[in-house]
């Protein structure tokens, strides 16, 4: 009996040892399977933070030692074209951001992220679903502001405007003084007109989904329609020449310099611009900078609509060989401490429930909005994209044309004609 027990004991030990070895081998196997996740982003998305200041790759290595995040930065102006070209060769990175306006075009090559942990915690993701699918998870949100020089406002006795009329009058008063350009705008780069020409139709009672609504209308450029109302307001404002002598003659860099050197009293831009200012101005001069939200309402009784833009929608292409690893990475990223540090650094609105961003003048400005109403900037549905592409509809370019001077009624009529023609040809 003793002998049997001895044999049984030895057998059990051998079995356990074998099992132990097996487990060890399994772990080693997993660790050995090295994965390289490519992550491409565009400039201005905190890439220097993720690549150098607080390496995202190193942070993730602590969680998944076998995964290396290979990051690449592309200039923002080249980004969309580069991604389209890479997609045509099926060479998109494992993780890459898609902009809200190109999401509709990219949806066919993106992996739905519906069930992921990252999608569950992302507070913007659901709002930007396309055909019931979440194709991208925004890294953060932005508010849009008018940056102003406090000293100029004090010198001229100006107050923060709360209606469009007050805002126009404020610009006129700065212009009258003759020392400062009321609003810096480097419209040589057409994109700089976006706080006005892209966002205003959302802010007048246009709503989150104004583009998709316009797609089914025959004459969205007619009086009474949100687009017309917004552009009529802008046309009247532009006619007061608030942007200095030659706004179409200089671009974004000069616009920034004008504001930083106090030649201009105001500059309209997103929250992201503050990082640029921090680089250009000393701490003392930075204290002279204040922000307010562009008031698009005509009377004080109306709700004060302000825009929240969700930005940098992280996506995974369908043909990614590391799709599962990429999903795991996104799950980690949005729920990690790294994300909290990242949004604090970026000074933006966190996209994750429960995460608090940096306390700043931006929060104060938003908190001070009377009768606030949030508007989300959506990119427009498939129908809208088809029409827009057919007529090369570019609101930022329209901004340039309006600044150079157009006959507003004829301009809007022309767009109505082109819109109807496009609707007929893109059925």
């Amino acid at each position: 009996m003793k002998r049997y027990l001895k044999v049984l004991g030895m057998g059990t030990m051998l079995f356990m040892a074998a099992c132990g070895d097996g487990e060890k081998k399994e772990v080693a196997k997993t660790e050995d399977k090295k994965v390289e996740l490519t992550f491409v982003t565009y400039s201005g998305t905190g890439e220097e933070y993720m690549m150098d200041t607080n390496s995202l790759s190193e942070a993730y290595k602590k969680i998944a030692p076998n995964v290396t995040i290979k990051m690449e930065k592309i200039p923002a102006t080249e980004y969309d074209n580069t991604m389209k070209i890479r997609n045509s060769a099926q060479k998109l990175p494992d993780i890459f951001p898609v902009r809200v306006v190109t999401m509709e075009s990219f949806k066919s090559v993106l992996l739905p992220l519906n069930g992921t942990e990252a999608a569950k915690v992302n507070k913007f993701a659901k709002d930007f679903e396309i055909d019931g699918n979440i194709y991208g998870l925004p890294m953060y949100g932005f508010n849009e502001f008018v940056y102003y020089r406090k000293s100029v406002f004090n010198e001229l006795g100006l107050e923060i405007p709360t209606t469009w009329g007050e805002f126009v009058a404020l610009s006129a008063k700065i212009k009258e003084n003759g020392v400062y350009t009321p609003m810096a705008l480097g419209a040589k780069d057409s994109w700089t007109t976006y706080p006005f020409n892209e966002f205003m139709p959302f802010l007048v009672p246009g709503g989150n989904d104004i583009w998709s609504k316009m797609a089914v209308e025959k004459d969205p450029f007619s009086p009474g329609k949100p687009f017309y109302t917004a552009y009529d307001m802008l046309d009247k404002y532009y006619n007061t020449k608030p942007f200095g002598e030659d706004p179409l003659g200089y671009g974004w860099d000069q616009e920034k310099s004008m504001f930083a050197s106090k030649k201009a009293a105001m500059l309209a831009s997103g929250q992201w611009f503050y990082m640029d200012l921090e680089k250009e101005m000393s701490k003392e001069t930075l204290e002279d900078i204040g922000v307010f939200v562009l008031p698009a309402r005509e009377t004080k009784d109306e709700p004060f609509r302000y825009l929240v833009s969700a930005e940098v929608f992280l996506s995974i292409p369908k043909y990614s060989k590391n799709a599962d690893e990429a999903k795991k990475f996104l799950d980690w990223f949005f729920t990690s401490d790294y994300y909290k540090e990242y949004v604090t650094y970026m000074n933006v609105l966190p996209a994750v429930e429960g995460v608090k961003g940096r306390e700043s003048m931006f929060n104060v400005a938003i908190a001070n909005i009377p009768n606030p109403e949030v508007v989300l900037q959506k990119g427009g549905d498939e129908r809208f994209r088809k029409i827009a592409n057919y007529i090369s509809f570019d609101v930022k370019r329209m901004g340039q044309e309006m600044i150079q001077g157009v006959n507003f009624t004829e301009y809007m009529n022309e767009f109505n004609k082109r819109w109807t023609e496009a609707q007929e040809n893109t059925k």
Binding site: N81, V109, S190, G249, R397, Q404
Partner: protein
Amino acid sequence: MKDKTQRSILLACFLAIPTILLFVFVLYPGFKLALISFTDWDGINPNYNYVGLKNYTQVFQRKDIWQSLKNNNLYFMLHLLFIPIEMYLAMLLDRYIKKSEFFKTIVFMPYIINGVAIAYMFSFLYSSEDGVLNGLLALGHIGKIRWLSDPKIVNYSLVVVSLWRFTGVHIILFLAGLQSINKDMLEAALIDGASVFQQFIKIIIPNMKSILSIVLFLNVRGALMVFDIPFVMTSGGPGTSSTTFALHTVKTAFEFSNFGLACAMAIVLIIAIIVISVVQGLVLEPEKFKGKLDKIKGLVKKEKLKVEEVIEKEGERLEEEKSKRVTV
């Protein structure tokens, strides 16, 4: 035997490699371009539909495309007007300027500088804020001119950059043409009392027709394909006022995800360049075309005669057979 094999391998390589390269980088992309021009491909979606000639009809119907072609036309016309000046400068360099090597280098220099660098350089010159040109105007108490932001002026400002860049290469080509003219002819004309203008019209131009047709071809091709200068300096703006056809094509494809239309525009551009070049050749060297036409006519005539001869012989044979049958 060994040498023969080596030679055969070498010859096969010399033939095969360029053929493969031509196929991979020219013919296949060209074929694909033509194929996509009949689709509604958005540049992203793997699926697309064939839409027949819809894209081509759009190219001819859309106002914005014609507007961009109008801008191209300005490049073409101003370069065309500049050709006599270029010829004159070439003549000066050839005849009157001693040690012209130095000047030739200077004249040719803009062509070898990177186009983007040139565009940036001129952007600074034209800058309405602190540009050199407006600085000079200020010295003469003249107000600022909005070189790149006034839609009425912007295209002229851009054409000047193009002229500055390409005049040199035209001058060098003309210079090569001038140097190939037999000097005895010019000396004889001089002895006969021909003025410089008469020499120019009667001797120089007729002897430089081939160079002139090359320059004109370069002008047509260059004018229709202008891209880098407006792209860097104005991005086609303000609005669309300085958008050229090539710039419009790129924007149609990448900004407005309309690859089908963009490909159709590219095909139309290729056809336009070929057609204009042929027409230009017909105007400039009609005798060359006449010669070719005569050759073709001659060939047709020869073939016709051969056919007639065959028919005649066949007729005779049939007649003979018929008469034989009647006799039997």
